[in-house]
């Protein structure tokens, strides 16, 4: 495999947008291409992520329309990726695999989502399409419900009283809002305290409103290129050190929701390919769709022992300046979660961190960063380790 680099990276402001999916994607995509000192005609493929355009705008098969908005040549193939919330990371991984194998030299990859256009009841229904349609979504399962069941299981398995676990989960939300308040692209740029979380409306016991990330609109895109191009076009090249992707089945087959088996398989691939391990990681953008999700992820990476990550934010170990900085962007919780775009925004944050371009939320001396994106109910996990 050839060495692969990330050149330009860009994201729109996340939040509630009046722009269409295509307009948001074009904004991010053209900025990423321009930042790479390239032109749209230099792209050899477009790997385009979108999950729910059918319901948001009545738009299926959006990739060729995004291709047209960007002004790519007709000979350049545009392909849609859909892996639920892991969509854009999976698109970027597949771009990197084809660049690494020599099929292409330069690929634009990313995603767009306009979830707010649906409103909460339809958005909750369409997100629930990520569950097994015959055996799991029919019982009225929702995504907060999945992570709520994981939280109850964690409390029981590790003998952490639910009240204590919830207090510590709230601290994860407090941290990610603290980081998000420093990110001008974040959906929520406001600090909160533990009481904001614990006084919130109950969504799925024991998860309250501020344990949950929002529905958001937004787009993000990155230019994936053969490493020689990076030396030519990028001031501070950032390289892909290792990647992983793995798949879990329905929840009833996964059984123990406190252990994300697909993540353990995915991160093992990424560590093996990169020759790096948990001790080498300076900064992490991980999939904190719910507060408990951040705790589970830290344990899967080997950054904490199983059953021990629940108070990491409370001890400030995952804050800026802590032992490993987790979600300096604000994470899905504060930065927002336009599902088809999220993975590309995570890569954008890590690349900017490794280039030392992150301003007040810069992780000092960051050299190695980890991206972690989860799709569906632990069905897809994709990891990318980046290094400067």
């Amino acid at each position: 495999m050839r060495q692969v680099a990330i050149l330009g990276v860009a994201m729109t402001k996340f939040g509630v947008s009046e722009k269409t999916n295509l307009e948001m994607f074009a904004e991010a995509g053209l900025e990423a291409i321009a930042q790479s000192n390239l032109e749209p005609k230099d792209m050899e493929a477009l790997y385009f992520g979108n999950c729910l355009g059918d319901f948001e705008e009545g738009q299926m098969h959006m990739a060729p329309f995004a291709h047209a908005e960007l002004g790519l040549p007709v000979s350049v193939p545009a392909t849609r990726f859909e892996s639920a919330c892991a969509t854009a990371t999976v698109a970027i991984r597949h771009a990197a695999l084809l660049v690494g194998s020599g099929v292409y030299d330069v690929v634009l990859a990313g995603g767009t989502e306009r979830a707010c256009a649906m409103g909460t009841p339809l958005a909750t229904r369409t997100f629930a399409m990520g569950h097994h349609a015959q055996y799991e979504s029919t019982v009225g399962l929702t995504f907060p419900g999945v992570f709520a069941m994981a939280a109850h299981m964690y409390s029981e398995k590790y003998d952490v009283p639910l009240k204590e676990l919830k207090q510590n989960m709230a601290e994860v939300a407090v941290k990610n809002h603290y980081h998000g308040a420093m990110n001008p692209k974040a959906h929520f740029q406001k600090e909160i305290d533990v009481n904001t979380v614990l006084d919130g409306m109950m969504v799925a016991d024991p998860l309250q409103l501020f344990d949950c990330c929002p529905f958001s609109d937004g787009a993000a895109a990155v230019v994936v290129a053969e490493a020689g191009k990076a030396k030519e076009f990028a001031k501070k090249p950032v390289y892909i050190a290792g990647m992983g992707q793995a798949s879990g089945g329905p929840l009833y087959l996964q059984k123990d929701l406190s252990r994300v088996m697909a993540r353990e398989a995915s991160i093992a691939q990424a560590y093996k390919e990169s020759g790096l391990g948990p001790d080498d990681i300076d900064v992490v953008e991980l999939h904190d769709c719910f507060t408990i999700a951040e705790i589970l992820a830290l344990e899967s990476f080997g950054l904490y022992e199983f059953g021990k990550a629940y108070d990491a934010a409370t001890k400030r170990e995952t804050y800026l300046g802590g032992k490993v900085v987790v979600n300096p962007s604000g994470g899905l919780k504060a930065k927002g979660h336009p599902i088809g775009a999220t993975g590309a925004a995570q890569v954008t944050e890590i690349v900017e961190q490794l280039r030392e371009e992150s301003g007040p939320r810069q992780v000092e001396g960051a050299r190695v960063g980890l991206v972690d994106t989860l799709g569906g109910d632990f069905g897809t996990i994709c990891n990318i380790i980046l290094r400067s």
């Binding site: 009225g140 409306m201 929840l251």
Partner: protein
């Protein structure tokens, strides 16, 4: 290859009050609900069996913000049946506001109830229910 027990046949079983699964003639494991192959050993020498219908609660939640077409609150739970498989269903015969951590580990019997179809489903279907013993 032939599907030994399809989703439709499984649904017809629930309609008759039968909890149909597949017993593996290679490893004796019971796969419930049905799949193409044994969930433990991947074996395909399977025969239709009726499970005993009892299990143990492993986790739960109370859904308070429901998807379009459903009415909250209601309890979603996972139970481990005595034959070993884990299944998802609705805990019934309990006020959702009384659901707490003490449910985990409690014994339940399995049944089923009808869930109305909606715009994006295949129509009405039966799903598993759990009742505390």
């Amino acid at each position: 290859m032939d599907y030994k027990l399809t989703y439709d046949q499984y649904q017809q079983g629930l309609e008759r009050g039968e909890l149909l699964g597949l017993k593996c003639n290679t490893c004796n494991n019971v796969t419930f609900p049905p799949m193409t192959r044994c969930r433990e050993c991947n074996g395909t020498d399977l025969e239709i069996t009726e499970i005993a219908g009892e299990g143990t609660m492993r986790t739960f939640t109370v859904i308070r913000v429901a998807p379009e077409g459903m009415t909250a609150p209601y309890v979603v739970a996972m139970a481990e049946i005595d034959e070993g498989a884990w299944v998802m269903g609705n805990l019934v015969d309990l006020n959702p506001d009384d659901a707490d951590m003490s449910l985990i580990g409690k014994r339940v019997t399995l049944g089923s109830h009808v869930v109305k179809g909606n715009t994006y489903s295949q129509g009405d279907s039966r799903v598993l229910t759990f009742s505390l013993i």
